[in-house]
């Protein structure tokens, strides 16, 4: 790992000013569960790392009327254990409980996961399917506008995610087919029956990261049941093919995981 300047931010304003000072080679770190392995592999060589983990205001989880707002610094373990999240959006607590392993969940954060936008990460599926809003230190970004491709988001230089606001769905569930070795999602499907209609988001499978499936949403809109998905054609076009699974296999898994998710959502 190359060396870097380390700055432990005491507040959001402090983090923003340290990031500005560091310029384009500055990097924010929340739990570090992706960034530290990336630094070890020298896939990133930031001149400065600004640690957000000491900013207490980022770690809160608050439930309002029909929504839950999760601070960007909330760890996966904290989201999984939160009574507010379990009560309002059980599917989200379940998803958080199965990210990585226990040790990763003790440090990894929702804000870090979303800013990184790994194409096999779990949280992007929940954010997109639930129609969440990403709150930054500068603005609010709708989920549909946030994910821009592999490891690409709508975040601008200097922008820091502070919270994610999730509207509570009528029904929702997430199912993933984990890679047996890495436990990352080979395919993960989050289905949600929301006030605005049915939304289905798929992670792990797409060449450009997380995406919504219009075909599944249409099929489930009239009849929110696993049976409604039978016969829905899942094209392999635009899906990943690698040593772990072919695009055709991933396409098949999307249908299987979607059915299981709908059944689990009840």
């Amino acid at each position: 790992m190359h060396n870097f300047e380390y700055h432990r931010a005491g507040s959001l304003a402090d983090a923003a000013s340290a990031l500005k000072k560091a310029g384009e080679d500055g990097k924010l770190m929340a739990g570090g569960q992706t960034l530290i392995p990336t630094l070890k592999l020298r896939l990133a060589q930031p001149s400065a790392v600004i640690d957000l983990s000491g900013i207490k205001e980022l770690a809160s989880i608050k439930a309002g009327a029909g929504e839950v707002t999760i601070g960007a610094g909330a760890t996966h373990a904290a989201v999984a254990a939160s009574k507010d999240v379990q009560g309002k959006i059980k599917a989200l607590a379940d998803l958080a409980a199965h990210i990585g392993d226990r040790q990763v969940r003790h440090r990894g954060t929702i804000g870090g996961s979303l800013a990184n936008n790994d194409p096999a990460a779990d949280y992007p599926a929940a954010v997109l399917a639930l129609g969440a809003t990403i709150v930054t230190n500068q603005r609010k970004i709708a989920a549909d506008e946030f994910f821009k491709g592999l490891f690409e988001t709508a975040l601008k230089p200097g922008e820091i995610i502070t919270a994610v606001s999730f509207p509570a769905p009528e029904k929702a569930a997430y199912m993933k087919f984990a890679n047996p070795a890495s436990r990352f999602a080979l395919v993960g499907v989050f289905v949600a029956k929301t006030k605005g209609g049915v939304r289905v988001a798929v992670t792990g499978a797409g060449e450009s990261g997380v995406f919504r499936s219009a075909a599944l949403e249409k099929a489930l809109s009239g009849n929110f049941s696993a049976k409604a998905i039978e016969g829905v054609a899942m094209p392999a076009k635009g899906l990943n093919s690698d040593i772990h699974a072919s695009a055709e296999y991933r396409a098949h898994l999307i249908g299987v995981m979607a059915k299981r998710a709908v059944a689990a959502a009840g």
């Binding site: 060396n3 870097f4 380390y6 432990r8 569960q33 070890k40 226990r102 040790q103 990763v104 003790h106």
Partner: protein, 155 residues
Amino acid sequence: MPTVKMTVNGKAVSAEVEARTLLVNLLREKLGLTGTHVGCDTSQCGACVVHIDGKSVKSCTTLALQAEGTKVTTIEGLANGEKLHPMQEAFRDNHGLQCGFCTPGMVMSAICLVKETPNPTEKQVRDGLEGNICRCTGYHNIVQAVLAGAKAMRG
């Protein structure tokens, strides 16, 4: 070089480290606490698990500077003099190890798991040890040891 201050196994520690120094390297190389192992160095195997403020973390994926002001516990901090921690005792009684390389991480993960889930089922133990790999594949006795250790910790 920056200075980091923390409590390790109950003792106040202050050390000069590079920003890139990993917690595991501080523990092993500067503090001589070589019970914490480096297996994979890629956050997979869990041989490096220690507790930061009571929570199990992978010390190969934590910067030493991130532990500023925290209470760190390593495998060396569990026993009370000659008296082993109940989870260590359970690993010995159940032969919960083969080569022993993964054992410190297994014990640290198990203690945190049992603190959060005092009466775990076998499935909860197996799921809870997902982040710890035993290259000898000696999982059967490790799981038995954790179940016995949980019982002993409940008292």
